[in-house]
């Protein structure tokens, strides 16, 4: 994970970028609208969420068994399985594979795990030509940025910015017409697909029962990447399993509905091992199973539910914080509510301290999560753990808990707190004195002036007695 930038500065920069704010508002409004319309047509949707959650819980509860079952089935079908304890292990395996087999031209399908492990940078450093082939990812690659949204990597860019980028990097005449830009990319990448000797993708699901990978997309670039090059490498987090085809059904239905309100995307590919005859696909298939932080998250009784995440992006689309920050305001490649919870789970609560503190806890993310992850609860827990990490905070909270547990203690404390708050707030609720952190808190908001008389001592309360 890159070193944390000054969070407040980052927030101010993004909030004052009108282009970004317009682009995010338009994109997320559209994603939400499409989901809402699709879900409204399906009376079974809430019951489907429960089935999807249960299917993931089932496989996570016996993950070791299902992983070995998957491994055996992939091998039986002629594939190779590599277990990577860390992201670097996964990258090294693919680098060695490319070097041993003299593979130099790579076409890639969109994969969050490959972003997570910085695969492109490592392969390019070895001199390989690497082409992202999803249009959004291709734009991001040309920009040298990371995706700002799981399913819409370039939603923060306007068509004019992309037009200038293509003119400069592809040497085509400037156009800001999306159809013309897309045609130019089709032509550019078609030649790359036909010449590629290695296709790299992620996987949305892997069916342990048969060793089948399931990949969803709209453009056809993943089909190209898994059909044309002679070698296919799929890089997958160990949590992406489903037990069998029966459990796959609710997940396959709910993922595209939650992402962009599609009943099914343009293409759902089911890949079982390498091809055996011409035109059946690659001659070699390698599955790289990446643990990295995942087994650590599994050991956390609260955060292990994050391993159910389908990466649909619904929580991002509904999050008011993401709506204003975009993905680049988050510390890691995973953004939005799922990114906050996953960052805290993978790197510890301090890594997500600022961004978890920015959450409004409005609950929208948990309401739309297709696998019912308690995202608001996890973000609150991340906040709590980050605070408890600070020196003396644990003792302070324990002491407060003892004081507030008695009526007298509560009464005295609330009067003292009210006096203190009145001392630092002006009549209009703005902070007029106090330490820097209090100034930061009050900079853009008016805080309510507390009543000196606590609510439980109010006349209303006495009357009711």
């Amino acid at each position: 994970m890159p070193p944390a930038a000054d969070f407040n500065q980052t927030v101010r920069r993004f909030l004052s970028d009108p282009t970004l704010q317009t682009a995010l508002g338009r994109a997320l409004g559209s994603f939400k609208g499409m989901r809402t319309r699709a879900v409204a047509e399906l009376p079974e949707f809430e019951a489907l969420r429960i089935r999807a959650r249960d299917a993931k819980n089932k496989v996570l509860g016996r993950l070791d068994e299902y992983l070995t079952r998957l491994e055996n089935n992939v091998r039986d079908r002629g594939g190779t399985v590599y277990w990577a304890s860390t992201g670097d292990d996964a990258v090294d395996y693919i680098r060695r594979l490319a070097a041993d087999k003299k593979l130099g031209r790579v076409v890639k399908g969109k994969s969050m795990v490959s972003e997570e492990i910085h695969l492109n940078q490592a392969l390019e450093a070895d001199g390989l030509e690497v082409y992202e082939t999803d249009l959004g990812e291709y734009i991001i690659q040309l920009l040298g940025q990371r995706p700002s949204h799981i399913i819409g990597p370039a939603i923060h860019k306007t068509k004019e910015e992309i037009g200038r980028l293509f003119a400069s990097k592809l040497g085509i005449p400037y156009t800001d017409v999306p159809e013309e830009m897309t045609r130019a990319v089709r032509k550019e990448l078609r030649a790359r697909f036909l010449a590629a000797d290695l296709g790299i993708t992620g996987a949305n699901f892997a069916v342990a029962e048969t060793g089948t990978l399931v990949l969803l997309e709209n453009e056809g670039n993943i089909r190209m990447s898994t059909t044309l090059p002679p070698v296919h490498v799929a890089v997958m987090g160990i949590e992406k399993l489903v037990a069998d085809w029966t459990d796959l059904a609710p997940l396959l239905r709910i993922l595209p509905l939650s992402a962009v309100g599609q009943r099914l995307p343009s293409y759902v590919s089911f890949l079982t091992g390498p091809g055996r005859v011409r035109d059946e696909g690659p001659r070699e298939f390698h599955l790289v199973l990446v643990d990295s932080f995942r087994s650590t998250v599994l050991a956390d009784p609260l955060f292990r539910q994050m391993l159910r995440c389908l990466r649909c992006g619904a929580c991002l689309n509904y999050c008011p914080v993401y709506r204003h920050l975009g993905g680049h305001g988050y510390p890691w490649v995973y953004s939005g509510p799922m990114g906050v919870a996953l960052t805290a789970a993978a790197f510890g609560p301090q890594a997500a301290r600022d961004i978890s503190g920015a959450s409004t806890l409005c609950q929208a993310c948990g309401s739309v999560c297709p696998v019912m992850i308690d995202l608001p609860g996890l973000i609150l827990e991340a906040r709590k753990r980050a605070a408890m990490d600070e020196p003396g905070i644990g003792r302070l909270v324990d002491g407060m808990a003892r004081i507030l547990a008695t009526p007298h203690g509560y009464d005295v404390f609330s009067r003292l707190a009210a006096s203190g708050a009145m001392a630092v707030l002006s009549a209009d609720g703005r902070v007029k004195r106090g330490p820097q952190r209090l100034w930061d808190l009050g900079r853009d908001r008016c805080l309510p002036r507390p009543a000196f008389e606590p609510f439980h001592r109010s006349p209303l309360d006495e009357e009711s007695e």
């Binding site: 009376p43 249009l135 068509k159 089909r223 239905r253 005859v277 696909g281 643990d291």
Partner: protein, 233 residues
């Protein structure tokens, strides 16, 4: 020294030995809870008599075109209507299409088009690809193509236009039916559920068809009227 595989499996087993936290109540849904008494995975299944209309409606809404050919002459007319306006260039056929209409090559040749043998390089210059659909999903306007028939993967992906031949007995309702069909007797090397044309909205959410796969898809119902003239080979 243990292998990474054993290390990972060992870490997973130790993680699973940690008791789970009590399940938290899920956040209230944004959707009003609706009583649904059927199988939630299948969802609401309408009367099969309406599946064809549902399929056609969804396929067209995605930008596809639906045709019907109940005789050989109607098939020739449909093929001429679709292939006629396309630029010069050959047509590539998947084996499933040849099984569907054994003399399809001849019919294409009669329209003045060459038939290209399936290979990535040939498919890349083809103006259209023709395959059959093993199953057709009314729920989503989807067709299923698999690698069990040689040439089907390329013909359904590489050319800019995809023609799909199918028959009434392939019509099923939803995703679980399609998965059952795929998984029976072991899944093929590759199966693809195709729903509409290749598309993207990655530039300012403007929908553009034909990014890497076909931008135009046509489905031709054969033998819907039951005349038997367009019989499968």
């Amino acid at each position: 020294m243990t292998s990474p595989r054993d290390d990972i499996l060992d870490k997973i087993r130790r993680a699973l030995a940690v008791p789970g936290a009590p399940a938290a109540a899920p956040a209230p849904s944004l959707n009003a809870a609706k009583a649904f008494t059927g199988d939630p995975v299948m969802g609401y299944i309408p009367d099969p008599a309406g599946w064809r209309d549902e399929f056609d409606r969804r396929f067209i809404a995605l930008g596809g075109e639906v045709h019907q050919a109940d005789s050989n002459s109607e098939l020739d007319a449909v093929l001429a209507r679709i292939l006629g306006p396309l630029p010069e260039g050959p047509v590539t056929l998947g084996d499933s299409a040849r099984k569907e209409i054994p003399d399809l090559d001849v019919r294409i040749l009669r329209l003045g088009r060459m038939v290209a043998a399936g290979s990535p390089a040939r498919e890349a210059v083809a103006v259209a690809g023709i395959t059959s659909a093993r199953r057709v999903l009314a729920y989503s306007g989807t067709v299923l193509v698999t690698s069990r028939d040689e040439g089907d993967l390329g013909a359904s992906l590489v050319p800019p236009v995809h023609l799909i031949l199918t028959r009434p007995d392939r019509l099923i309702w939803g995703v679980p039916d399609a998965l059952s069909f795929l998984a029976q007797d072991g899944p093929p090397r590759c199966g693809v559920l195709i729903t509409g044309p290749s598309r993207t909205a990655d530039i300012e959410l403007t929908l553009v068809r034909g990014v890497h796969g076909p931008g135009s898809v046509h489905l031709i119902w054969l033998g819907w009227a039951g005349t038997g003239e367009t019989q499968q080979g």
